[in-house]
């Protein structure tokens, strides 16, 4: 095929996808604020998205914090006892806590949402909602977005604590640091603004995770295979958007001049 035609076709597909996503988001966001708001469903989703993600997020944070402590200690001969807790608390609260939690929840939750909504689409359950005078955006999309935006910061707060603890465990058990000194150094270098910027990121990631899951599920087509590719696309696009948004937000919070 003509390479120019290929580039053109790719551009058209890419732009129309962005347009469709923008249209979807424009319908989804107002549905969060306009009644009826389904509190029961939102509560259910908070359990599924937030609470049941705790083990995955906790384990990820623990090993990330531990590995970070180990990496920093290796080759540092002087002042490791100060440097390790410093880098661990800074790295976890600013970057690794939100990003690792975001990516893990994207894998778990975006996929689950896309599969559920996709199956509802191909079995006509979403059409059935409309015929029962229920707006699918309010009934399906809004509770998931609200739940993800509210629970992601909580998950990241937990990830921050467990991540720092991972560093502390490795520091005291394997590197032979003094526990009291480690904790003292950690608290010395922990800044409120770092933690809060991470929590803002978490809320944004929560929005991306739920939106991508809902979007790909809502528009899935063509039976089992369609639902399968919707699930894959949801996870991949959520992960990429999380990393891109993370960069944008980092440059906003910590950008030039600070």
């Amino acid at each position: 095929m003509n390479p120019f035609a290929l580039v053109g076709r790719f551009t058209i597909v890419f732009l129309s996808e962005i347009g469709r996503l923008a249209e979807f988001a424009a319908a989804a966001v107002p549905s969060i604020f306009v009644p009826p708001i389904y509190l029961r469903l939102t509560g259910q989703q908070m359990m599924r998205i937030g609470y049941y993600s705790l083990p995955v997020v906790g384990l990820t944070a623990f090993f990330t914090g531990g590995a970070l402590a180990l990496q920093i200690a290796v080759g540092t001969t002087f002042g490791a006892e100060t440097l390790v807790p410093n880098v661990v608390v800074l790295g976890i609260t600013r970057e690794l806590g939100p990003v690792m939690a975001g990516l893990m929840v994207a894998g778990r939750v975006s996929a689950a949402i896309a599969a559920e909504l996709g199956t509802m689409r191909v079995t006509e359950q979403i059409d059935a909602l409309v015929t029962l005078s229920t707006n699918p955006f309010k009934y399906l999309v809004a509770p998931r977005i609200i739940a993800a935006v509210l629970t992601m910061p909580l998950l990241v707060a937990v990830a921050d604590v467990i991540g720092v603890m991972g560093g502390w465990v490795v520091g005291t058990q394997s590197l032979g640091f003094n526990s009291a000194v480690y904790i003292h150094n950690t608290l010395d270098y922990m800044k409120d603004s770092d933690v809060i910027s991470g929590l803002w990121k978490a809320a944004a990631f929560g929005f991306i995770i739920a939106l991508m899951g809902c979007y790909h599920g809502y528009y899935s087509r063509g039976g089992a295979q369609g639902v399968g590719s919707a699930t894959t696309n949801a996870v991949v696009s959520a992960a990429i958007l999380i990393l891109a948004t993370n960069y944008a937000m980092t440059s906003f919070f910590f950008g030039a001049g600070r």
């Binding site: 005078s133 229920t134 707006n135």
Partner: protein, 256 residues
């Protein structure tokens, strides 16, 4: 002359370059049972989805009780859809909810009824389609196809609609269960005095539930008349379809 319950005029719908509906004209009078017959892919489902607002036609007008419904806001659409009940081909029950909540869905979400009161009504409607109390607590996935269809019917009639749509009500059922469903449809429709619009390619079912039959072919209504005249339609397309003959003016697009 009374206003027709549903009136379609010149409804056109295309997907990409494929024209699915090519100017459909159709009128359903109040209290009438109209069945649209036609082969797979002739646009029967698309017609239904256009009336329900699940798809927007490219051209033409659709009126429900004299009200134009093709370009409605979503809240106005919800109001119109309150007049409708729909039985989906695959029943389309919500698998996250038990059977009774499926039936009570429109009552709880749409009418804001309390759960216990809605459950009472749901059990009544389930009894109407011959299902007992113990089925009410099951999840839809635990039911057979025929039972799912009956629950779907109970859900469609739960909020006392004025118009019920049936999308291939007997497809995928054994002949006996198909007849049970047909009888149920005829009985509920008679009891409730509603208007119905069904689509099917099952002629046994069509003859049983229809007052009037319309045939859709290549995106157009090519014949429409009372059920009693279907055998004397004088239309060779209709003749071929109702007798299920492979040879005739309708050519299946099969690559040999």
């Amino acid at each position: 002359m009374t206003t027709p319950k549903i009136q379609l005029k010149g409804v056109t719908k295309r997907f990409g370059s494929k024209v699915v509906l090519d100017g459909v004209d159709l009128t359903v009078e109040a209290g009438e049972s109209l069945v649209i017959i036609g082969g797979s892919g002739t646009g029967k489902s698309v017609t239904l989805k256009c009336i329900l607002g699940l798809l927007t036609p490219d051209k033409g007008s659709i009126k429900v009780d004299g009200q134009e419904v093709t370009r409605l806001s979503s809240s106005a659409r919800e109001q119109v859809n309150r007049k409708f009940g729909m039985l989906f081909q695959g029943a389309a029950l919500f698998d996250s909810l038990p059977v009774w909540e499926n039936v009570a869905f429109a009552l709880i979400q749409g009418r804001g009824l309390g759960r216990s009161e809605a459950k009472k009504i749901a059990l009544e409607k389930l009894a109407k389609v011959g299902l007992t109390k113990d089925v009410a607590e099951l999840s839809p996935a635990e039911l057979s196809g025929g039972m799912q269809k009956r629950v779907g019917l109970a859900r469609a009639i739960a909020a006392d609609p004025e118009i019920i749509f049936f999308d291939e009500p007997t497809t995928g059922l054994d002949p006996i269960m198909a007849d049970v469903i047909n009888d149920l449809i005829v009985k509920t429709v008679k009891d409730m005095g509603v208007t119905t619009l069904s689509i099917t390619h099952d002629m046994v079912s069509a003859r049983k539930i229809a007052d009037k039959i319309a045939m859709l072919y290549k995106g157009k209504i090519i014949w429409c008349g009372p059920k009693s005249e279907i055998d004397r339609s004088g239309n060779e397309f209709v003749d071929q379809f109702i007798h299920g003959r492979a040879d005739g003016p309708i050519k299946m697009e099969i690559v040999r």
